[in-house]
Amino acid sequence: MQGIITWGTYLPYRRLDKSTIAPFVGQGGGKGTRTVASFDEDPTTMAVEAARGALRGRKISPQQLLFSTVSPTYADKTNATVIHAALRLNDSVTALDLGASVRSAVGGLMMAARSNVTTLVTSADIRTGLAGSAEEANGGDAGAAFVIGDSSSAPVAAEILAVTSATEEFIDRWRSPGSVRTKVWDEKFSEVTYTPLAKAAWKQALTDAKVSAEDVAMIAVASPHARVASSVAAKLGVARVVGDVIPTIGNSGAAHPGLLLASLLESSEANQVIALVSLTDGADVIILRTTEHLTTARPTPSFDEQVNGGAPLSYGKFLSWRGMMSIEPPRRPEPQRVSATAAARSEKWKYGFIGSRDKTTGSVHLPPLRVSVDGQRTDDMEDAPMADVLGTIATFTIDRLAYSPSPPIVFAVVDFDGGGRLPVELCDIDIEEVKIGRRVRMTFRRLFTVDDIPNYFWKATLVRDN
């Protein structure tokens, strides 16, 4: 039986206080906060981080990788192959993007549930809108990842009992590809349209799962319309609804159903029936039963830890990071586009953060070397995967002149546990936080984009106690 083997979520570090919007724009905003992806993050990097959370410390070899987002970085070219490379998955793994609609994300989960191979399902989204819009205030940025496979291949934390859908064509939320503005019809229309679809899919799911609504311990309803979500949740006959995180992190579109499913799993106990209902262009229902492996499958950091973490970001930075407001850059040349051939040759280093370790001396080299540092031996090296190795700041500086999409650059010389040094940019950090001796971990980022080529590589970020 297919089930969820493990999962991970990723919430970016920054939070926008929505009350700062109206004083600037004259409208919009509201109470609470929302998550904001950094200038150097995109849905691909957030999916990588969520998947790293799911896979860290586990020997799982997915056979296929699915990725959904409403705002893909590449069109034509597959984004999932970047995730595949950053996760150092086997070459034999199929890596696919699903279509650029919110529904594709929950669709990935359903496809994996109905398949017979181990699937890594990732989704991530960056939500914004015009300044002062409801979309801007109510959106959020996040990533989620699930490994779904058969219980014979690995212990599952939750068995999938039923997967059902109810589909209908209607226009309630839409935008053209590339546009920042999502448009909505009357929310009442959405409510009256979604409610019967949700009821139909729910009824079928209960039947398929051979459970009654009373048997379901907890439910999560994901919908871009907050009003529809709460209204439908109240109508399904389940006593408990998973905690509402939207006032803190916002609604992260394609990532949102995954976040709610993770929240369901992390707040459930073993041997409980739980259900996810997703309402976008129809209704999709997944009913699961948790197992005794639930507790050991919980990822670090947990979803709750991330919801409660984070640090504030000014509205001006938010606008500039989303490209809604142009900020004067340093008067330095902008970077060149990445060479496709050079990047292909250094795939293991650039995407996988794999250095080399001298087989004779054990010394670690970042980037990898072919010749030993004493100059004596050639190709006497083995791979040194360093993405999950922690490091310590040996020294640092702040560069106020160098080109950056969001200056100044905070930069440190990082010494890794067990050997290896890399001078590398820090991210998600306030200048006063950087100190010699602080611990850092590596995170996958998009450094800049030139000629429509995103330059993916790794940065270091502080290890913070939540």
């Binding site: 008067r331 330095r332 040349p333 970077p335 060149q336 990445v338 060479s339 051939t341 050079a342 990047a343 040759r345 250094s346 280093w349 650039k350 010394s363 080299h365 970042l366 980037p367 070397l369 540092v373 100059g375 040996a394 020294t395 640092f396 500086t397 702040i398 560069d399 106020r400 002149l401 160098a402 080109y403 950056s404 650059i409 930069f411 010389v413 010494d415 050997g419 290896g420 040094r421 890399l422 001078p423 010699i436 450094l447 330059n455 993916y456 590589f457």
Partner: protein, 396 residues
């Protein structure tokens, strides 16, 4: 295998150097024409007397034609060289070896950079196509990591270190104010230096060398022919070069308080020249003061001060114009700016003036000692090239 050097086998017999400023009205061709013509005139030779040329330019143009076309050379061999910020020194090094080998009687090294046509601040290297994983920091940021590491290792109070590196800037501007070829010709107060806006780390604007356009040139002949051209030749005592292997960027043992490539280069240079007590045998040193903290650390790597003590020697005025060992008496990169291909030869031009007693009353140092050292580096802490020359007025 050894580094034998070519002590006393060749001599510099003519030099030229343009003003180093923002030459909005002069292009690269104009700069090389001016420096070269000064140089021919200084050596008393005609253009066609020079047998071979080495052109140092980091980004001014490709191939020897960058020099042969503006000078309209008549079927001469011209080699363009590049070696980071030591490019100008490298041109002279190659010209000197060519003459020492016997291949040519007269060779000329020309260094030039036209930096101010980019429209950007600072120097801007154009990297080859790459995988996008390299550092994109400014040189200021890379060198700014040295000051806190130095203060920590040697237990120097950060305020005292701040005072010492400000003194380096103060000294070099004091000297540059007395040099008609310098870009910045005003003395700058310690207060202004210390309060200047930060560029990177704790390095402020006045801790950083400026940028300028400029060119300089030197003519080399065999030592035994030197007096055919001038009564006061400068004999080449040592030419040393080290290209580091970048290990400081990857080796956790590197602590950012020294530049090992330069320390190794100095050992080689002193051995070539037979110098055993550098700070008492050398009359002046022209060093690569790209940043104030760089010059301070160089005083130790060049063996002028014991480890951990250069900051005291700087504060004591030991390297001031009237100090025991004047460093950058021409004003250095601080006062000149740094046209990459020209700076190494500009340093030698100061050695040429000072050792021949031609630096002018305001700047002339004592010529009791007959050796000058020029030092040029390129790259960053941890990944660097280093050049050192030792030049002298006496054979033997």
């Amino acid at each position: 295998m050894a580094s034998h050097g070519i002590k006393d086998r060749v001599a510099i017999v003519g030099m030229g150097c343009t003003n180093f400023v923002e030459h909005w009205d002069l292009g690269l061709d104009d700069l090389v024409i001016e420096a070269s013509n000064q140089c021919y005139s200084s050596a008393g030779v005609a253009k066609n007397d020079v047998d071979a040329y080495w052109l140092g330019t980091a980004q001014g143009g490709m191939s020897g034609i960058t020099l042969s076309r503006p000078l309209q050379l008549d079927n001469k061999p011209v080699t363009r060289v590049e070696n980071f910020c030591a490019t100008g020194s490298e041109a002279l090094r190659q010209a000197a070896y060519a003459v020492a080998s016997g291949a040519y009687d007269l060779a000329m090294a020309v260094g030039v950079e036209k930096t101010k046509d980019s429209g950007f601040q600072g120097l801007n290297a154009v990297p080859p196509p790459n995988d996008g994983t390299g550092r994109t920091l400014t040189a200021a940021a890379m060198f700014s990591m040295v000051a806190p590491a130095y203060a920590k290792k040697f237990g120097v109070d950060p305020d005292e270190l701040r005072e010492a590196i400000a003194h380096v800037a103060w000294k070099n501007h004091y000297n540059g104010a007395r040099n008609s070829r310098a870009q910045f010709r005003k003395e700058v107060s310690m207060d202004t230096i210390k309060k200047s806006p930060k560029v990177a780390g704790d390095l402020g604007v006045f801790d950083c060398a400026g940028v300028a356009d400029g060119a300089a040139a030197a003519i080399i002949c065999r030592a035994e022919d030197a007096h055919k051209y001038t009564d006061k030749p400068l004999y080449v005592k040592a030419l040393s070069f080290v290209a580091g292997n970048g290990s400081g960027l990857t080796n956790p043992e590197y602590d950012y308080t020294t530049f090992p490539e330069i320390a190794a280069c100095a050992v080689d240079a002193y051995a070539q020249a037979g110098v055993t007590d550098p700070s008492h045998q050398i009359a002046l040193a022209e060093v690569h003061d790209c940043f104030t903290i760089t010059e301070l650390v160089l005083m130790e790597d060049l063996q002028f001060s014991p480890r951990g003590t250069a900051w005291k020697d700087v504060l004591d005025g030991r390297f001031d114009l009237k100090g025991q060992l004047p460093v950058n008496p021409d004003g250095g990169l601080k006062s000149f700016g740094h046209p990459v291909g020209a700076s190494g030869l500009r340093m030698m031009f100061e050695a040429w003036l000072q050792l021949r007693g031609e630096a002018g009353d305001e700047r002339q140092i004592s010529t009791d000692r007959s050796l000058a050292l020029t030092h040029n580096l390129g790259g960053y802490p941890g990944e660097m090239v280093s050049f050192i020359s030792i030049l002298g007025t006496q054979l033997g």
